[in-house]
Symmetry: C2
Subunit: 500 residues, 2 copies
């Protein structure tokens, strides 16, 4: 006889599989879908989204959840109880949003991505602007339904990571901006000459092989995942046994695909490392909010991938594929070059020091849009202006400026801050991991990343949603997100790179 909890668990797994289909369709839309099929895909995703919302707000499901909740925590183990709480929270959030709005949002979402892609390809923000306006309107509307007392942008922030309000973020970013500007000044005054990475021709089929080798060595399991190409790198897919990451290739620039695949591998290893026991596919097994997700990708990209011991492993692999392009280069030359600091048009290609400025730019613009300080039609000019102020340049084109990120194309606001919060959390985690595993980095140079993968699997991935992001960071690092510790790491590292 099935218990009530088992009944809930089965239903949550079933709903999760429908959400997985949506995840899969989203991956396909960004990596495979023929251009002429956007409209049919939009219909498919809209119809399935409506079914998922309808079934997630089913009265019988709600009743079951409340009955289990009323039985009380003592009747369940911690995983079961957490599932009940998470199901309750999701049910309560879902019923707040009318199904008509769910449908409208899904309809706009498919169209918006298509328009963003078209705008980017045609270097014309005005193609996308009307959709951006619709996205913002609908986002406000959803926020109002979810919590009419809260500022709509704070509700957006909540949707990616609960517990970090715009007030918290303002404080963190203020401190960070000032600390970074000091480090940046020291770098700029340094006399150290660092080679520039070669802009030679890097055959794409060889890049694909290289990326594959690096990602699998880092721990990406192709038996339960794939690597493909898309306009904007991302990690998606429909299940933790079907994790699909993408990158894009530039014949003139190897580091673009390389660093982005290391980043995505961090996300992918998180997904692949989640629970596979009886709690698989239930809420407690899911990844925590996006701060923790980005902590995993940025830890891998920045602390591992741009560290000297990783380069001692990775650069010989690079030279195996591209010997001519790197003739005369030593590992240390490459290490310095990959850590060279300087303004970059694209956020995803920028260095550790200027990257947070890209984030602050987007975060401030989003707040201004949601506070009616700027209008959607003026966003391109506002972007360029802020880029001059924060980064010191005006983007060469709209495609490499206001249109560069897929996030707004997806109607997703309040995401950007999680990159920088995640970078800080990830860096703190890495310091702890290093303390607990003194041979960690020494093993990197032999291509052995098992210690860090195991550590992250056990400390983060398998913990699922048992705790909140803030609790997990506190538990692991004995601290909340700490700007000073992050600035210290950066200062130490770039002092050694730039010998200032």
């Amino acid at each position: 006889m099935e218990t009530k909890y088992q009944k809930l668990s089965s239903e949550l797994k079933r709903l999760n599989s429908l959400a997985g289909i949506l995840g899969h369709l989203g991956w396909d839309m960004q990596s495979m879908l023929p251009k002429g099929a956007f409209s049919s895909r939009q219909n498919q995703m809209t119809n399935l989204t409506c079914i998922l919302h309808e079934q997630s707000t089913d009265e019988e499901l709600g009743q079951l959840i409340y009955e289990l909740f009323d039985e009380g925590q003592s009747q369940f183990n911690q995983y079961q109880w957490r599932n009940i709480l998470l199901a309750k929270q999701n049910f309560e959030d879902s019923i707040k949003i009318p199904s008509e709005l769910i449908k409208r949002r899904a309809q706009i979402s498919g169209l918006g991505f298509q328009k963003w892609l078209e705008a980017k390809e045609n270097n014309s923000y005005k193609i996308f602007a009307p959709l951006l306006q619709q996205y913002i309107d609908i986002s406000r509307e959803c926020s109002h339904h979810l919590d009419p007392e809260k500022h709509p942008y704070d509700v957006c922030l909540d949707s990616f990571e609960k517990g970090f309000s715009s007030k918290d973020i303002d404080l963190i970013f203020l401190e960070l901006k000032s600390g970074l500007s000091k480090i940046y000044s020291k770098i700029q005054s340094s006399q150290k000459s660092i080679k520039t990475l070669p802009k030679g021709k890097f055959d794409i089929s060889k890049q694909i092989q290289l990326i594959d080798e690096i990602a699998t060595t880092l721990g990406f399991d192709k038996n339960i995942g794939r690597i493909d190409t898309s306009s904007h790198p991302f990690t998606g897919g429909g299940h933790n046994t079907d994790v699909r990451m993408t990158t894009r290739y530039d014949e003139n620039d190897l580091s673009s695909a390389l660093l982005s695949i290391i980043h995505e591998t961090g996300h992918a290893i998180y997904e692949q490392g989640r629970m596979t026991d009886q709690y698989q596919d239930t809420p407690v097994s899911m990844a925590l909010g996006m701060v923790i997700h980005e902590s995993q990708s940025l830890l891998l990209e920045r602390r591992v991938g741009q560290g000297e011991q990783f380069i001692n492993y990775c650069f010989p692999v690079i030279k195996k594929y591209f010997p001519e392009q790197f003739e005369g280069w030593t590992n240390h030359d490459y290490y310095l070059a990959i850590n060279k600091v300087g303004p970059s048009e694209l956020r995803v290609d920028s260095d550790e020091i200027t990257y947070p400025l890209h984030i602050i730019l987007r975060y401030e613009l989003e707040k201004e849009l949601f506070n009616h300080v700027i209008k959607v039609e003026d966003l391109n000019e506002a972007w360029n202006e802020k880029s001059r102020l924060l980064l010191g340049f005006t983007p060469k084109s709209e495609s490499s400026g206001v249109l560069q990120d897929a996030h707004w194309g997806d109607g997703c606001f309040g995401y950007f801050p999680v990159y920088t919060l995640g970078a800080m959390a990830g860096s703190q985690m890495y310091d702890i991991c290093l303390k607990e595993n003194p041979k960690l980095e020494a093993n990197f140079k032999n291509g052995d990343f098992s210690e860090i993968k195991t550590w992250l699997n056990q400390k983060v991935h398998l913990k699922g949603q048992l705790k909140s992001a803030k609790e997990l960071i506190q538990e692991l690092t004995n601290s909340s997100i700490d700007v000073n510790s992050y600035l210290n790491y950066l200062d130490n590292k770039y002092q050694s790179v730039y010998e200032y």
Copy 2:
């Protein structure tokens, strides 16, 4: 105010978009899915199949259909009326099958394909046999629900093309087998020496480019379609604006990928050529049964792709990619070589004369399985025995024998006869098209296939399901499927090839 008909039309379109998602997931399963993800994909497809069945048998939908049906034909145009009839038929079929059985069938289906793939890779039929038994049992069970009066195998035949019973097919195949054996004898007694296609190394990345060029020249529209790789070539996808065909590449054999892509292009052009007006996504716009579908693919593969004028266009393209492999070859050499007749292990690689024998082999085995004449556990031996009798050889391996086709791996019985019925119908259509367009073949050599594409678009693709397959064949060719006309075509062609 929405009319009742509009309400039905919207609901049918919505259900069609869910079926489209299933089509897409099936394509992904065969072409992209990581091995470790089969089980999660199976869950996704099972859950969505159950939702689709539940919503297709919804009482309210049934009531709406009957109300519209009761209004009578005179109230609607022919497209609308056909939609009402097709919706009624689908509703009546769907409610006959219990949802529990739908779920069970979907569950087995995902697992079965995985086991077939594993069996094929390991050259071991016994890995797949238990699943094949389950497939047959469940197929019988479904047949019994659909029509307890009919032989279960005839119900299977109906599911791919209504109107051709096993009695009809027995008669057609008897006549065909005898006619083919006469032609085959003449060919075997011919002294004509025909070159064998080179088994040189054909670089796969070049094959991919070649296939792309040929398929798009034939009329495949990549704006609403894709070409990928899978273990067994097929055409699938989720919509007529998202048609995905696949092939597989063999470094030693160019014709394998080439002929199969021409075949799939026939299917793909059918799908891409379906209605895009207000009837798009409603039942009347869908492709007719599989006899007509295969008539399109085999017309293109056999009558166009293996014809001399097509070779006059295609062979120079082949030589552009592979000049060394074909040094000294003329167009006519290639034409003869591609039409060389002889036993082939694989159905998909076999020539026009022995191909139907492959079909008859499978058809007879399926009937024997469904009639309990042979047991699933003895199928491999039965296959080998029948192969000796019909084709004159025993397959080298189980992978290239009983496991070669994906159909049984998909739990699909009663499909094979439609290939040969389709080949005959397609050949009859081609003769008519040629009569109506005297310059048709002369234009082929310039790479101009617009006439045939337009003819098929107008006469077949845009006709959707307005008529039955039998009616359409009669209307287009002024005849039913005619074995003699097919044998005449073959005799004339191979007389000229083999100069017998």
